[in-house]
Symmetry: C2
Subunit: 301 residues, 2 copies
């Protein structure tokens, strides 16, 4: 099936270079055109082929990118609940970095494709503290207004500090505050935390470097309040890793290209003193490299 | 403001009898017309007046009924999180008896009206086992297909039975199964429970009559699997109560009139050997009585 994908474009009188240059425009209508041509040529949806083994990084990034954003996230979330590809981080990332409406669209796409609910799979495939955090995160429909209740921010900063001081990291109240408050309110609460207790909350969550739940909690807070920093770090670790983590690279580039890639690139340059373009070009090659660079807007004015 | 409501209709050349007869048609377009006329005449939305003290049962049922269903549920849910009108049952009822899409519309209406999320208020105003059950219930977006996984139904029936045998009524697994599975899947699981263990699950949850959490858990199961029985019982208790519980009567009649009132009436007749019409006529009076009877379709063919 996947070789068909290449054939589809070849039969269509094109080649990888052209695919990259079309997709570089990052135009949703053109992506839908590709899906339509594919469906007409092979009588099935592109998304179906994602279930098969993917033979190379280029095909993978083209296909993930070509999907509608809600379907793409539903696919990534489903993979993240499966035994051999499970990832609490991917679930958290989808839940925390998408807008409330976009997350709801992911839940709708999940119903349509998997005949189950996202939260049902997340709850079934996780246990203990991870379940306690992830199920409300993926089920949330946070208020998105900018209104902030200062009294509440102060009282909840105090609650967070008390629980963290007691090392009760998975306490009901910590989970409640992080999973239900609007991002604006949470930001106010964490600013009060910093002001009142002299440390950013994530500093106080650092004491045990091997605690996987604590790591996820810190990443959750970062992803909710500074998504560009969260994604910069993911890219940095994926690129610097011996062998490069292509799947993380593909995921971050494909999901953020149309959203906040400019801010992520800016953050990357600040943190690493080189551009993301430079590092991607250094660690990847061929069509895959060209595709990633096109997606992050390499060479754009 | 509320006296304005009556004046609105009087100024409009009508009277209570006419309001009842218009609303008896249970037509959403006509209800919207009433809201529009009200808004034009008084420069504010009918819903705003719901926050004020309501002076009588007739006005209350007219206003609750006239609201758009999602706004009505958002209003009822918000009241149910407030200190003096708090009700875990109303929250559970809205979460469990509405369709997944309708529940999501309630969450959207909640954002628009209260500038907060429903789950945020529910989490903030509940604690312990009640929070643990209610937050995922109101956040759920259950799959609504009829597909059933029989293996899963058997294994989860067994889990439920083990936890209940250990009296671990608020165990994570019980909560997970009840709050995330589709209604069709849950029904299959509870049927297996009954077949394999010789009792309906609610029989095994009955041992402690004073345990409020157990009562809510039983009601949750009933509301998810036999909503007409759940509502029949609510109506029966509201009517038989010394003094009659008008607010419960108003809520059930206004929220179910357009949904499943025929089945609830049928269930009422089976369980009480008299009609719901008869009992409502016996326990209420005047315009309020006429309105309730009109809403439940009294005299319809």
């Amino acid at each position: 099936m996947l070789s068909n994908f290449n054939k589809a474009f070849k039969g269509w009188g094109t080649n990888e270079g052209l695919i990259v240059s079309i997709l570089a425009h990052r135009n949703a209508a053109q992506r839908n055109l590709i899906r339509q041509v594919y469906a007409e040529a092979y009588g099935q949806d592109l998304l179906k082929d994602l279930d098969k083994e993917l033979s190379n990084d280029f095909e993978r990034v083209v296909m993930v990118w070509t999907l509608d954003p809600a379907e793409r996230d539903a696919y990534l979330a489903n993979e993240a609940t499966k035994r051999f590809t499970s990832s609490n981080w991917v679930l958290m990332e989808i839940a925390c970095s998408r807008s409330s409406h976009d997350l709801f669209k992911v839940r709708q796409a999940y119903h349509a494709r998997y005949k189950k609910s996202l939260e049902e799979d997340v709850a079934y495939h996780t246990t203990g503290d991870f379940r306690k955090l992830l199920v409300p995160l993926v089920s949330a429909f946070r208020y998105e207004g900018e209104e902030v209740n200062t009294m509440l921010a102060k009282s909840e900063a105090k609650i967070l500090h008390e629980k963290i001081s007691d090392k009760a990291y998975s306490d009901d109240e910590i989970i409640r505050i992080l999973t239900t408050r609007s991002k604006a309110q949470l930001n106010a609460t964490l600013n009060h935390y910093n002001n009142a207790f002299g440390n950013a909350i994530n500093m106080n969550l650092k004491e045990d470097a091997d605690n996987e739940f604590l790591k996820l909690l810190r990443a959750t807070i970062k992803c909710l309040t500074y998504p560009e920093k969260y994604f910069e770090k993911l890219l940095r670790l994926a690129i610097k890793k011996i062998g490069t983590d292509e799947w993380a690279l593909t995921r971050v580039v494909a999901t953020r290209a149309e959203v906040d890639m400019e801010r992520i690139k800016e953050e990357y340059r600040r943190r690493n003193s080189v551009t993301l373009d430079h590092d991607i070009a250094g660690e990847t090659a061929g069509d895959y490299e060209r595709m990633l660079l096109a997606l992050i807007g390499h060479g754009d004015a």
